[in-house]
Symmetry: C2
Subunit: 170 residues, 2 copies
């Protein structure tokens, strides 16, 4: 009994430990949190003035390579876009600068035309907060994502326009 309790507590501790990708629960549609996304290269950024959030869009190697070459309509198979979202705040030392404050969520689009053909060839997933709680009650949550992206169907369902950077093709 004591052993069982210890194991249960240990499991709970592992499941709720924040910040370690290995132990983050998958999204309700079984998508796993991509590992190491925090260190992916940057594709673009934005400031949404409607909901007062700052965003930086990162990508895995396939996505970044496509972005640098302007080959993003369609994005290639295997591309993953990762959007980091923060509530906007003000820089204390320069109040003309809007800066990221509280971390809101990390959301992902994973390109697999076959696997995700019902949602434009993209798998959607989101993890909320610094403790990365999977978003959505069940797998129908993707309809919300997909619905919001319908206006950009002509841009392969992606809002992000890669930012121009002084660099050769990767």
């Amino acid at each position: 009994m004591k052993y069982l309790l210890t194991m249960t507590l240990l499991s709970f501790s592992l499941l709720t430990h924040a910040g370690d990708n290995e132990k983050v629960a998958p999204a309700p549609n079984q998508i796993e949190l991509p590992k190491g996304y925090q260190d992916w290269a940057m594709i673009s950024s934005s400031h949404r003035v409607d909901n007062h959030s700052l965003r930086v869009i990162l990508g895995n190697d396939i996505a970044v390579s496509a972005a640098r070459k302007n080959k993003t309509n369609p994005w290639p198979e295997g591309a993953i876009l990762a959007k980091m979202v923060w509530k906007e705040g003000e820089l204390e030392t320069w109040n003309q600068a809007i800066v990221p404050e509280k971390f809101v969520h990390a959301e992902f689009m994973i390109k697999d035309s076959e696997k995700y053909k019902k949602t434009g060839g993209w798998g959607f997933a989101r993890w909320v907060g610094l403790d990365q709680k999977p978003y959505g009650q069940d797998e129908n949550f993707v309809q919300e994502c997909f619905g919001c992206h319908t206006p950009v169907k002509g841009n392969d369902w992606v809002y992000t326009i890669p930012s121009k950077l002084p660099m050769p093709a990767k």
Copy 2:
């Protein structure tokens, strides 16, 4: 004569070729453009509403590691911060989103307390536009950089506050 002309044209072509770090001229203080900075990991972002620009701050491995561990006052020796700056624009498909448009410049702070002790331990440099023209007429341009950073002397001369991310120390 024909050979000389060819060589001159070739040299000019090499010097002005945009987008390839190998051929970008150093800053007037002899700082060389850090290689591969475009793919460095993200440290933070901002929207400056005074001059209508969006910024993403990237860092080399030393800087990113320090940022993830909140060990940034002072930043460690060898840290390089790279700030990408774009003019703000509007996303056509979502006009509540301010997005990067024209690339303005990439600017760098390189931590070497000994080498750059006259300017707070930081070497400053900037390359303008997609063709990466070095900023400044002579090496005194750093006084302009350093002057602007004086208000954040207490933050190791750095404005950037690393954005919170759900991740373990690198």
